[in-house]
């Protein structure tokens, strides 16, 4: 899962011994992958930043409860996935108009995609098709149940193994495998029309 387990443990112990600068080092190391996970889960930049900040606040407040050999990356993703789940449910019950309107109305990729998709190589009609496919992907992932979504995001984007995901989600490795299969099946069904078009020669 992480290339820095030794550094994580050293920084956690330093934090437990009162060295607050260790939290800065942990933030520098983990804010990017945590933010990426939260953003892919919530499709909202400010919410993602808010929850990642909350994760580090909790790490600071609860560091004395952690054993020195705690796998910190798993702990961080566990807290974050729970926060994302709670926030997602709350947002469904309290719908509101996001200030980041382009993200919410047109799909999370609609605005950022223009800067990221290399449209020089594509014709305008192909660009539009890609944009629609990415928006459909975002919507399909948004509709995935929490367990399937968490497993898929951690496996595909954070490159975690079944064992590490099972630690975070609290299920067996076989369960993780099943969830990944079901998540992919769901996406294939939802995106069937786009998948036929995006096959590369």
């Amino acid at each position: 899962m992480t290339p820095y387990p030794d550094n994580d443990n050293a920084d956690l112990q330093a934090l437990q011994h009162g060295d607050d600068t260790a939290l800065n080092r942990l933030m520098a190391r983990w804010q990017k992958p945590l933010f990426a996970f939260a953003w892919r889960y919530l499709h909202n930049t400010s919410d993602a930043q808010d929850l990642v900040a909350e994760v580090f606040v909790r790490l600071y407040q609860q560091n004395h409860r952690l054993a020195p050999d705690t796998r910190l990356s798993a702990w961080l993703f566990t807290i974050l996935s729970n926060l994302c789940h709670n926030h997602h449910r709350w947002r469904r019950r309290h719908p509101s108009v996001s200030l980041d309107a382009s993200e919410r109305q047109d799909g999370p990729q609609a605005s950022s995609m223009a800067n990221n998709v290399p449209h020089d190589s594509l014709a305008p009609d192909r660009t539009l098709e890609h944009a629609e496919a990415l928006a459909a992907m975002a919507n399909a992932i948004d509709r995935l149940p929490h367990d399937l979504k968490t497993s898929l995001l951690l496996h595909h984007y954070e490159h975690l193994g079944y064992r590490e995901i099972s630690q975070i989600t609290g299920c067996s490795e076989r369960g993780v495998e099943t969830r990944l299969y079901r998540a992919r099946q769901y996406l294939r069904t939802e995106l069937s029309s786009f998948l036929r078009e995006t096959v590369q020669p």
């Binding site: 800065n24 953003w39 930049t45 998948l195 096959v199």
Partner: protein, 232 residues
């Protein structure tokens, strides 16, 4: 020929590339920590919970509690033992000093049982051997009839004093010659009681080793002082 990539994986990859970069979270995190510290001054229970979350402290606390419990138990047992010893010493003194037990309510048979119980205590407490115990028992049995008789006389004289007092209150006067004789007899009886008790203690002490004797007299000393029989 190139193997076609799974279209779903391809789409997932392209969707993932769109992730924006996070802002620097450090200032926001430290601001929230500071606000939380100000808002939530930890309560007593929260502090206790935090402290007890450390295994080393919780183990040390448990050990301290167990040690304190053992200490208090030991203290209580010691206190009870001291109280019991004091009662035994008082009982022994009442047995050997007629002035302390002027109204013997127990018949002679009970006195023998009481003596056996007290001698058993003395044997344990002073470390007497069987020969010493037998000799001390003989001493007590030889002198006990005399002590009981003296205790009976003391009781009789106390009743006589009560009569004098009753007469003084009812008639406003007493026969001074008779009262003078009473006082003289009472002095004589007190002297005889003290002498008998002293003799019993001395004869019992003679059987003991110096160490046992010292301990025996030390055991009797507090009771003697509290009962006003320090002259023994």
């Amino acid at each position: 020929m190139q193997t076609p990539k799974d279209p779903l994986e391809n789409l997932l990859d392209r969707w993932g590339q769109a992730t924006p970069s996070p802002e620097h979270l450090e200032p926001e995190v430290w601001r929230r920590i500071a606000v939380a510290d100000e808002d939530e001054a930890p309560s007593f229970f929260a502090r206790v919970k935090t402290v007890f979350a450390r295994p080393s402290f919780s183990i040390a606390f448990a050990v301290a509690c167990v040690s304190l419990g053992l200490f208090l138990t030991e203290l209580r047992i010691s206190h009870q033992q001291t109280q019991h010893n004091r009662q035994l010493v008082q009982s022994y003194l009442r047995l050997v000093d007629p002035l302390l037990d002027a109204y013997p309510a127990t018949p002679a048979a009970n006195s023998v049982e009481k003596l056996d119980a007290l001698l058993a205590w003395m044997k344990n407490d002073l470390g007497l051997n069987e020969q010493q115990l037998a000799r001390i028992k003989d001493v007590h049995e030889q002198l006990s009839p005399r002590l009981l008789a003296l205790a009976g006389q003391v009781a009789q004289m106390q009743r006589a004093f009560t009569e004098f007092e009753k007469e003084r209150r009812s008639e406003g006067q007493v026969d001074f010659l008779e009262f003078a004789r009473y006082v003289e007899q009472r002095r004589e009886l007190d002297r005889e009681c003290t002498e008998s008790t002293r003799r019993l203690i001395a004869e019992a002490s003679d059987v003991m080793t110096p160490k046992q004797r010292k301990q025996y007299l030390q055991l009797l000393d507090p009771a003697l002082r509290t009962t006003g029989s320090g002259s023994l």
